[in-house]
Structures are given as C-alpha cells and as structure tokens.
Amino acid sequence: MTPAVEVKNLTHYYLKGTENQVAAVNNINLCVEKGETLGIIGHTGSGKSTLIAHFNGLLKPDKGEVIVDGVNIFENKQTLRQSRFKVGLCFQYPEYQLFEETVYKDIAFGPSNMKLPREEIERRVLTAAEMAGVKKENLEKSPFDLSGGEKRRAAIAGVMSMEPQVLVLDEPAAGLDPAGRRDLINMIKNYRTATGCTVIIVSHSMEDIASVADRVCVLNKAEIAMLGTPKEVYSRDEELRAMGLNVPEITKIFLMLKNRGFNVPEDVFTVDEAVAAFREFAKGGVKK
C-alpha cells in the first residue's frame, strides 16, 4: 500500500548560509502508513514542528523528498497545492488563528478555499463541527465568545472540514485541564475510527501519546532516535530520560517494580491498565 506520508533523507537548515547555520531536522527517513496514528515526541528544539511543516510543503527541504500519497509534493505548483488539501496541519494553540465573524465561517474557510459547492461546504462544516465536539448553538457565535477549550475545538474543526487524508496536530491538548485533555484525546480517537484517516500527533505528553498512538517516533537533536510501538519505545526509560523525556508516572512505577524483582509487565501506560496488571500479578504471586 502507498504510504500516507513518506520523507526521504530530509534535511532542513535554519539560518542557512550563515555561520549559525543549524540543521533543525537532519537526514530524516520516515514512512507513515495509511490509517495509522503516529505520535511524535521530542524535547523542545528537537525538530518536531520543523518536520511536520514539511508534510504539506509549508517548509521546503534543503535536502531530500516529501512524498504524500505517492506524489512528490515539490514536483510542481499543482502537487504542492494538492498537498495542502491532503495534509491538514493544526498548529499549537490553534485558537489564536481563529479570525472569522462566526465559528461557522471559520470552519468553512478551508473548504471555501477549495472551491467546493455550497452544499458540500455546509455538509463538511457540520460534520467537522460534530466530530470536533463543537456545539451546534456555538456555530453562529463569534469565535471570541467561546471558552478556551471550545475555541480549540473550533480551530481543529477548521482543519477537519478540509477532510484531509492526513490530520497533523501539534500539541492539541496543551494548556487544557485533565478532563479537557482526556476529552480531546478521545475526540481524536473517535475521529480516527469514524474516518479511517491517518493521524499524526506531536506532544510532550507521554501519557497522551501512549493512549492514542500505534507507533511513536522519538526525535532527538534533529534526528530520529527511536521508532516503534509505545511498548517498544517506553521500555527504554533511561535513554528517554537522557533525551529529556519522561515515561508516564505509572509506567515508571512498573519499571521500578520490575527492577525490584516484581514480575510485572513494562507496557503499562494508564492507571486502569496498571490496576488490572497488578491484580493479575498479585494473584500469581500469592499462589506461588
């Protein structure tokens, strides 16, 4: 199957040609399969945001290629324009980019630019609003009258309404309270189930990534340091810590217990999983 997004030998320099030239991403090779949810984690400045900005051609690589749905997006103007529709990019704190008079118009902005018929735009706005959890009664309000969490959802709906094959979210839950964070992650899971689309999530939260991603890509100093299932990646606790990252607190407990001779699993990322796994262990242990 053709991958959703493929980057080959991708390098991007900032301050190119000056003495301060630095590679923000350095010779990255990554293949994102259709329908998967990929989590990207890494310390500040590891290249996460630079990398995803190449997926729809916002940044042009200094070296290497970006292939979306089998097409090299920098081939010509047409392919570049198409990549903008195929890959929907939702930046960090997207609520700062709301600008229209009404939430409806804001969500309709993308599809309107795609020159779709009016009925199709309406269908997309309503579908996206529902998927992103934007309340119907908020559609005619000014986006500036919504709460922070509602604005976030409206902004995400504005990307979903373009019905991209690949939805890329940069820190979608940053700044939300725990309940809001959970709701948002669930919303992304439901979106993925409903649409079957490829989802790429950048986050500092190892908990969020563990609960939503099929695979995790760890960036460190502009390069891919690890790529694998959450289980494979999170078991490398010490390497992650050396890169300035942390496994979820609950995973840490299980890794420490393992070290202390407890025969418990290492791939435990949520409290529910932990309680179940520990009860299982306690049963076996007591029997012994």
Binding site: G175, D177, E207, L245, I253, L257, F262, V271, A282
Partner: protein, 282 residues
C-alpha cells in the same frame, strides 16, 4: 504563624461582556483566602475555574467587583497603591514569548528595576544575582529568541527577582514547555521559595507540580473547593475528580489497590507496594 501577605476577603469578580457592557456570571464567587509569608501555594482548577483571575488579582492587574484583596495591608483597589503592590508581587505568565521585551537577556532582566528607578550599579548587581539564581548567568549576553521555552521562562523569573518582589505569582509557567523545561522551571521556583524565602503562588494543570508545593488550593466554578497540604487534598480522590481534575497517577493507583496511605510520587508508590506486597515478589 508567619504573617498574612495576601488576603482575599469575600472577593467576587465579574468580567464585562465586550459588546453590551453587562456583567457576565462571576469568574470568582465570594473567595476568602490568606496566603502567608514564605508559603508555596499551588492553585489548581479546571479551565474556566477562575484560577488565572485569582492570580491576576494578586498584583492589582484586576481588582474585585465586590470584597477586597490586600497585599501587606494595601488594598489593591486603591489606585495610588498600584505601583507599590507591583513592587511586592511579580507575575510570570504562561507564554514565554509574550513577556520578553529586550533583545539581550540581561537587558530584559534589567527592564523591571530600570522602571523602578534603581541606581545603575545596583541594577548591575541585581541582574547578575538574579540570573545566577535561575541558573541563566552564562546566557546573559545571548539573544532571548535563541533560548528554549524553559530558559525563557527562567529569564522571565529572573526579571521578577531583579525587582526584589516578596511574592512571585506564576500563571501556568510550564504549560508550553517540554519535560526538561518543566523540571528546570519547577526546581528554580522551589529554590527561590526555600532558599530566598520568596512566597510563591503557582497556577498549574500538572498534578506532579502541585505535589511539590506546601499547600494546594483547588478552584471549582469560581469558588475554592479544597485547600490543604498536597497529601490532604489528593487523599480525597473523589472530591478532586468532581472538580474536573485528576490526582497524580501514583496516588490513584495505590488508592485503587487498597493501600491506605496517600502516596504522591512514583517513588512513594513503589515503597508502599513493597511494604504491602513484598512477599509476592519472592
């Protein structure tokens, strides 16, 4: 008992509707709270619970619609006291990019004391001291835009330190940072509290940060729902959850295993589990 530094008495605050000018439902509703000298208070609450509003009332950015807020006895509603209050209470905000004004790190830190009319030689001394306190002295001649988020936040904290405020109020200072940046900012804040005796009020969404405070105040829908030590507050899982928040994963895990003691960190959890289930491992 140390002295009361900031006191909220029956404080209600309502924002105005931008268009009609009418008052919206109160963001803070009859708040009574005293913060004592030397305390490290974490303020938790769901989005829209009123935590940021509470923070902004501590240095007269906002003042009450009803009731009063006093800082060392000075009423924040008294306009003449505004400058004095802001010399006592400094603020650090969430977004590291919105609060740096100068193009060189040390100039940014000097901005506050310059505005206070401090002597140049004294400014020099304060800037160096403050940058050392937040572990950013080696970066004093760098340009802020080349710093990481955590480094920028520490520069912002140094800027407040250089004003020699007694209290530092931080409104979600780590929300935009990665784990290392978060840890650096938090350890800096703790150091200022422990070693310099600065009173800290820190609004946060992170339970693992709240655990490091002396006292946790939980806001819910404009009111104070819980107030106590981290152990007291997080022992009441149901109450914390009913405010739309979580207890730390370690706390919840141990409580669901039926461990009586309230644990706050992964290390404590492991110790308690070994105490309780030690035999199972052998």
């Amino acid at each position: 008992m140390s002295e009361k530094l900031i006191e909220f008495k029956n404080v209600t605050y309502s924002y105005e509707d931008g268009e009609s000018g009418s008052q919206l439902p109160p963001a803070l509703n009859n708040i009574n709270l005293a913060v004592y000298s030397g305390e490290f208070v974490a303020v938790l609450g769901h989005n829209g619970s009123g935590k940021s509003t509470l923070a902004k009332m501590c240095n007269a950015i906002l003042y009450p619609t009803h009731g009063e807020v006093t800082v060392e006895g000075m009423n924040t509603s008294d306009e003449e006291k505004g400058d004095l209050i802001r010399r006592k209470v400094g603020m650090v905000f969430q977004n590291p990019d919105n609060q740096i004004v100068a193009t060189i790190v040390e100039d940014d830190v000097a901005f506050g004391p310059e505005n206070l009319g401090v002597e140049p030689s004294e400014i020099r001394r304060r800037v160096d001291e403050s940058l050392k306190a937040v572990n950013m002295y080696d970066f004093r001649l760098k340009q802020p835009h080349n710093l990481s988020g955590g480094q920028k936040q520490r520069v912002a904290i140094a800027g407040v330190l250089a004003m020699r405020t007694d209290v530092i109020v931080l409104d979600e200072p780590t929300a935009m940072l990665d784990p290392v940046g978060r840890a650096d900012v938090l350890s800096t804040v703790r150091k200022l509290n422990r070693e310099y005796g600065i009173t800290v009020i820190m609004v946060t969404h992170f339970m693992d940060e709240a655990v490091k405070a002396d006292r946790v105040v939980v806001m819910n829908k404009g009111s104070i729902a819980l107030d106590g030590t981290p152990r007291e507050v997080f022992s009441n899982t149901a109450a914390v959850k009913s405010c739309g928040l979580d207890v730390p994963q370690s706390t919840e895990f141990c409580s669901r295993l039926g461990i009586k003691k309230t644990v706050l960190t992964a290390e404590e959890a492991v110790d308690e589990i070994i105490n309780t289930y030690g035999d199972a491992a052998r």
